[in-house]
Amino acid sequence: MIATGLLKLLTAVTGSLPDDDGSSFWMPPQVSTVAQGVDWLFNFILAISVFFFLLIVVAMVIFVIKYRYKEGQTAEESPTHNMALELTWTVIPLILVIAIFIFGFKGYLDMSTPPSNAYEVLVEGQKWNWSFTYPNGYIDSDLHVPVDRPIRLVMGSQDVIHSLYIPAFRVKMDVVPGRYAKAWFQATKPGEYDLFCAEYCGTSHSDMIAHVIVHPVGEFETWLEKASNFLETMTPVDAGRKLFQVRGCQQCHSTDGSAKTGPSLLGVFGRTQNLADGSTITVDENYIRESVLEPQARVVAGFEPVMPTYQGRLSDPEIMAIIEYFKALDGASSEE
């Protein structure tokens, strides 16, 4: 039993035994077209490394045992330099590393040049969540993609550097504020995979996780269709809640009464609110609508006028859904 365990460990360490979904001791499942090539090169370098590592360690152990210091006995005569030996262990590693570089660069070329017919999704990274805009304008907090179709991500960040990293697809690209970042992949197996932020971006850097849902052939379009008109399919309150989470409102407004950058929205509807300019107002549909479109117009007392305008980013039916959601936040059915 120990022998099989050891054998499995050794072969696993050398990475040669991928399981059914392509994941092995070293690598996560291979779910994109480039994963195969990356894992092959990983194993190629691993083989070289294990060989040289064993060469060094075994030689070291043999020398230590064979030439152990014995009382009063000094080392035998041996050469202090040998040009031929020096050349061999310079040239051979040089050839190997050139080979590694070439494979690495070829793989990189495939990874960095998206095919022209790629399906384009816009990605928006901001402190601490991802949002994905599909070509028909629908925005979701998860990345849904059709299987076996090249997907091109055009990414932007609103604040600091983030990095979109999908281990299963072997794809990673930093999203630097002030520029577009581009990445592409083609998923080969339906399923759900993790999408991490790989560049440190602050408090909840480790919670900035989204999911990539790869739909089987034909199912993506139906999903997109249904999800896009979520206003019709979902109840207004659910649609409002979804918008509240996906459009970044929850970054600054809490729904459980706790203070954040913006006022908490627990029981906001009908509440009398005193404003920064001293006047007071009872919160109704118009005030919510005005606060969404021109947030700086009437700011609640004690808060900074930092809310960005959603003019042109939220359609009227969407604003109505959000208002319904706020009405449901009357404290009776407290949100999670």
């Binding site: 030439y67 550097i161 504020p177 002030g178 440190y200």
Partner: protein, 565 residues
Amino acid sequence: MAVDTLAADGAAVGNPNRANYLNTGSGVLSWLFTLDHKRIGVMYLVAITTSFFLGGVFALLVRTELLTSGPTIMTADAYNKMFTLHGAVMIFLFIIPGIPAALGNFVLPLMLGAKDVALPRLNLTSFWFWMIGAVFAVSSIIIGAVDTGWTFYTPYSTTTGTAVISMTLGVFILGFSSIFTGLNFIVTIHKMRPEGMTWFKMPLFLWGLYSTAIIQVLATPILGITLLLLVAERALGVGIFDPTLGGDPVLFQHFFWFYSHPAVYIMILPAMGIISELVAVFSGKHIFGYKFIAWSSIAIALLSFLVWGHHMFTSGQSGITNMIFSALTFSVAIPSAVKVFNWLSTMYKGSIRLLTPMLYVLSFLFLFAIGGLTGLFLGALSVDIHLHDTYFVVAHFHYVMFGGTVIAFLGGLHYWWPKMFGRMYSERWGQVSALLIFVGFNLTFFTQFVMGSHGMPRRYYNYVEEFTTLHQASTVGSYVLALGFFIMAGYLIHSLFRGKPAPANPWGSVTLEWETSSPPVAHNFDHDFLAGDPYDLKSLKYDPATQGWVRKDPQSIILSEGGAH
């Protein structure tokens, strides 16, 4: 005053309470304002070991937090500050000054048979800059510890509310301390070599320090200007790095890594110098391929300036630059491989004594081999896209920095301990802690290779369930590591007071620092030297009376009074 140094009466028995550099002056001021390179070396040693323990505590807190995926002992913000402080303290306060300032300051003039470094006042200034820089850096903990990571990437570092300016000013001052040490060593090696010590008769530790000094002098100023620009960006808003003002965060990464990659060679080159010394002495044999080892140090120092872009493969660097940096990165791997093979050949047909320093040499070869080879994965472009900013990178640089520099530093510390303090340490406890450190280290960091290649991102406070067992194994490993260090601290401090008095040459080495008593007299030597081959171990014989080694012909290396000048 007739001081009985070695030359006068052959193998002087170790006698710690005889007049030496430790007990000449009295009182704290004689230490804090000393110009004696040996005292400055000892003060640096105390300073960097304290920073090492401080950094180690931060490491243990980080590892303990990662025992479970959710919050374990601290909040997310506290965790971010903890790993930033671990990185910053370990790098800027411990490993960059580390070997050159502590061991180098002590040993370099002795190895040259000189009375002191060329610019003693500059040496003391370097120490004081370290102290002031450390105060700035550590005080940032109190006024809102930095949470940007030791890399200070903008625009996060220009928008976070934590004390980035205090930390960056601290590192700015520490940079000058490093420049002054490097500058001092270059001038000393150029101008103060003894008679007969040509460049290729110099001990390889000095080659290591010389190539390190080249990098310290040529790379650290760029760190200085980078930090100055970062402070200006935060305080005035000059718009070089901050995208809201039209700046470019990737330009900051170019600035930062232009220093920080050569800096990792500032860390490893002195370590390689120590290993060259130790492997020859404890194999009882002349070093193999002296010229190749010497030239590969210089090659590494120069090539290190060409490869910084491999830290930025996924950061938005253009494709062509990625390609160029990936190709150049592989050129740096060759000299390191040449060195490892030369050390192995030195052990061939030697008479190997498995004393503590040699144990550290063996674990250096083992760990640095893994560290170096995993660099190949990160140099290959397509694999790096997957591995960048994951725990694979964390494991790689710990294998090279800890497995390489710290292990070699410990080997060097034990090797020169008798010379520095005139006392022998307990060999048995030395081997116990060396084993514990080796096992603990591998358990801590090999698991991180596996996590990293499976996609575990760096600097994560909370991780997905899949990685829980590996994180727990890694944390247990870090506790074993900590245990090893506490044992070491114990027996080394014990040896300071009750260690066996050390003979002048306990290990049987031919380099000149063993030609004076242990600990050395304040002015090091009473005569000039005619230096011979630094690895001609045949010219020594063991003297059982003093349990030390003596030269068969002591007069051969002494320059006669009226010597040719």
